[in-house]
């Protein structure tokens, strides 16, 4: 809930690459968070859920399997930088895709309840956008 939620996936976020669909994602939290904070990513493209086991991520110029992020507590996703989700979805430049993304960020300094579990801050996206050619400027 809030103005940043609508900016998680932007109009120019989709790129068609040779190995699938790249989705540039921007954080809805006000500060940089460590990579394990990407606690929940539920991504559906054109009605088909993307398995996290085949999802990879590029952040700070490094590409990781999504499952590796939980160990990368020494690296942060900066406030204004995109984090790119690489979804193995067949596409070509100019094709439209419906992208549904539930992004749950674990907020590591806000502990809730008697068990002191971190707050999970969700944002929800449902947009139909066109995939650009790699290297196309927005």
């Amino acid at each position: 809930m809030g103005p940043l939620d609508d900016q998680v996936v932007r109009a120019d976020s989709l790129t068609a690459t040779s190995d699938g669909l790249d989705i540039a994602v921007y954080t809805h939290w006000y500060r940089a968070l460590p990579l394990p904070s990407l606690a929940k990513v539920e991504l559906t493209v054109d009605g088909t859920a993307v398995d996290l086991a085949v999802l990879s991520v590029t952040v700070n110029g490094h590409r990781y399997a999504f499952t590796e992020l939980a160990d990368r507590g020494d690296e942060y996703w900066f406030t204004t930088d995109p984090l790119v989700l690489h979804a193995p979805v067949e596409t070509v430049p100019g094709r439209e895709h419906r992208v549904q993304l539930l992004l749950g960020l674990s907020i590591p300094y806000i502990l809730t309840g008697p068990d002191r579990v971190p707050l999970l801050a969700p944002s929800s996206t449902d947009k139909t956008l066109s995939a650009a050619r790699p290297g196309a400027s927005s």
């Binding site: 809930m1 103005p3 940043l4 406030t79 674990s106 300094y109 806000i110």
Partner: protein, 339 residues
């Protein structure tokens, strides 16, 4: 700069107020700081390190020099650097006391390198970690303040434990950073915008405001709120959103701010909108009276936070209105010490 008479609190701005402006195309740290200075929203400058400084908590010499140069060029005065203890950094466990100490110690060194005289930590930094950090704070010349933000109050057990610690250690290097969100008199009207865009019915927003305004501790109100909201057809995520109001906006009596003294090292002037020269949701005159009576001459960072609810207003304009309101308020009465 917003000049204010000697013997009164000094004004300033935290870049957190500019959370939405930071995302605008072409914006960078230099442009935000430059506009704060150009609009006379100093002299104090605060920022959230993890929000504003790429690469934090790591800060090499070149980066430190560049940020310091940007602040120097602006003519603003570094007041406080907000740092974080990310206790739940890794899934399934919390950092140990040793890890927590190291996590803050690195950031304390960064704050010193940038010329900040104080850092803000959250309530998750408890007495064991603070006690261990004290010698380093003293050595670096950087005070550590624990922010007391809604839903915390001066009587909450973690806050009472800090008060006991600060009283026992009797040191100028550790203290409180009270935030005006702890003492609000109404739910801010910006909430209406957020609820409208989230599809929350006006009756639910009205219910939340009504229950919020009832006497009694916040947590004790949740069962009634959940029951009545469900009767009005609220979904679980909507109920979650409504409960956020209760944790973001506290109801501690403004007079109780006296109990944070003499351990106040910095103040967060949280606000959610100044209209016609007044803040409808926070009793600034009442808290301002306490600050004057206590002879507080440190900084109040104007901290506009309605950007979590709405993009309707310019934060720069809002901070300007906030400074004008504070200046009028504080100068209306001569400082107690000067009488």
């Amino acid at each position: 700069m917003t000049d204010i008479a000697p013997g009164l609190p000094r004004l300033g701005t935290t870049l957190f107020s500019l959370t939405l402006e930071q995302r605008q195309p072409g914006r960078d740290l230099r442009s935000l700081i430059g506009e704060v200075a150009a609009r006379d929203l100093g002299p104090g400058l605060e920022m959230v390190a993890f929000q504003s400084l790429r690469g934090w908590p790591h800060l090499d010499e070149a980066a430190a020099r560049e940020v310091r140069g940007t602040i120097d060029d602006s003519g603003l005065t570094p007041s406080c650097l907000a740092v974080n203890l990310d206790l739940a950094l890794y899934p399934g466990r919390l950092l140990s006391d040793d890890e927590a100490f190291e996590y803050i110690a690195v950031q304390l060194g960064g704050a010193a390198a940038l010329g900040f005289p104080a850092v803000r930590v959250g309530i998750e930094s408890g007495p064991p970690v603070l006690s261990r950090l004290l010698p380093l704070a003293e050595q670096l010349g950087v005070k550590i303040g624990v922010e007391i933000h809604a839903p915390m109050t001066i009587d909450a057990p973690p806050v009472a434990a800090l008060k006991e610690l600060f009283t026992r250690l009797d040191t100028e290097w550790l203290g409180f950073i009270p935030d005006f969100s702890a003492s609000m008199q109404a739910v801010p009207s910006a909430v209406d915008d957020a609820h409208r865009s989230a599809g929350i019915a006006p009756e639910l927003t009205a219910l939340a405001k009504e229950v919020w305004g009832e006497p009694g501790p916040t947590m004790a109100k949740f069962p009634e709120l959940e029951r009545r909201a469900a009767e009005l057809g609220a979904t679980p995520p909507q109920i979650g959103n409504i409960k956020m109001i209760f944790t973001m906006h506290g109801r501690m009596a403004p007079e109780r701010w006296a109990d944070f003294f003499p351990h106040v090292i910095h103040v967060h002037g949280k606000f959610y909108g100044v209209a016609d020269g007044e803040d409808q949701s926070i009793d600034y005159p009442a808290i301002g009276r306490v600050l004057r009576e206590q002879g507080y001459t440190g900084f109040i960072s104007s901290e506009y936070e309605a950007h979590v609810y709405t993009a309707r207003h310019s934060a720069f304009d809002q901070v300007r209105a906030h400074h004008d309101m504070l200046k009028r308020l504080f100068e209306a009465e001569r400082p107690v010490a000067a009488r």
